[in-house]
Symmetry: C2
Subunit: 147 residues, 2 copies
């Protein structure tokens, strides 16, 4: 199993406040940017056997509600502070050292709190796996998490 | 896929010098201790889909030469400084942020340098996967790495 991406890293212009996460920042997340509110960065870490990516979210950046079909996903939090929320459940605050197992078919989102946040994301290998993207987490929903 | 271990953490008596690695120390690595020189600690991080373990090595601790059959393994280094070596090749120094992909059927070992070292280890899921343990890395072989 081999994912279709390049390991060549490019220099990215980022704000002076951008962090240096443990496993690197990578590039602006162009391909999936349309499924995020705010700016995220993506660094592929491994393509053989298990696809592993380092994902960094600027403050308040988060992805849309989405569902993994086929295989789930595992998050390993390394830097900053973030959120993970499953549909119909309260959001969970995430800190470095936290691990999240996301089962297939569970609608959820993840992203930063009001600071930078980085997690490693691991795809559980599965046949015909796919991600189904849903609606954004609105500012109203998101801002409630801080109250 | 679900590995057969408990997530219950027990209190372990460890030296005052034991570190607090990013994803936790866990327990003394009793089950696999016979395949290690020195003391290692094991903390299971995830059992669903992909088996993920946090492995911490005291200074100079290393595992025996071994071979993964079926699926390989991925190491994500988080704390300290260590080594990874494949049979017949020079050892590679490992630091936090380093990633190692270990292909199936490659004889290798990993462990600490002369300081504590922690990596996350991820098993690439595969049918009939197994680890074949070989001879220890002798003190003579190991000490050469520091010269």
């Amino acid at each position: 199993m081999k994912n279709n991406f390049s390991f060549v890293e490019k220099t990215v212009q980022i704000g002076e406040s951008a962090p240096s996460p443990l496993f690197g920042l990578g590039e602006k997340n162009i391909n999936f940017g349309k499924y995020f509110v705010g700016q995220s960065y993506l660094k592929p870490l491994n393509a053989e056997g298990v696809g592993i990516f380092n994902v960094t979210f600027e403050p308040k950046c988060r992805n849309f509600w989405h569902i993994h079909r086929g295989g789930g996903q595992i998050l390993l939090c390394t830097d900053g502070e973030g959120f993970y929320q499953e549909w119909g459940k309260p959001a969970r605050r995430l800190h470095p050292g936290d691990v999240v197992y996301i089962a297939p078919d569970v609608k959820h989102w993840h992203g930063a709190a009001d600071v930078w946040f980085t997690h490693i994301a691991m795809e559980v290998p599965a046949q015909n796996s796919a991600t189904e993207w849903c609606e954004p987490v609105t500012d109203l929903e998101y801002e409630k998490l801080f109250k």
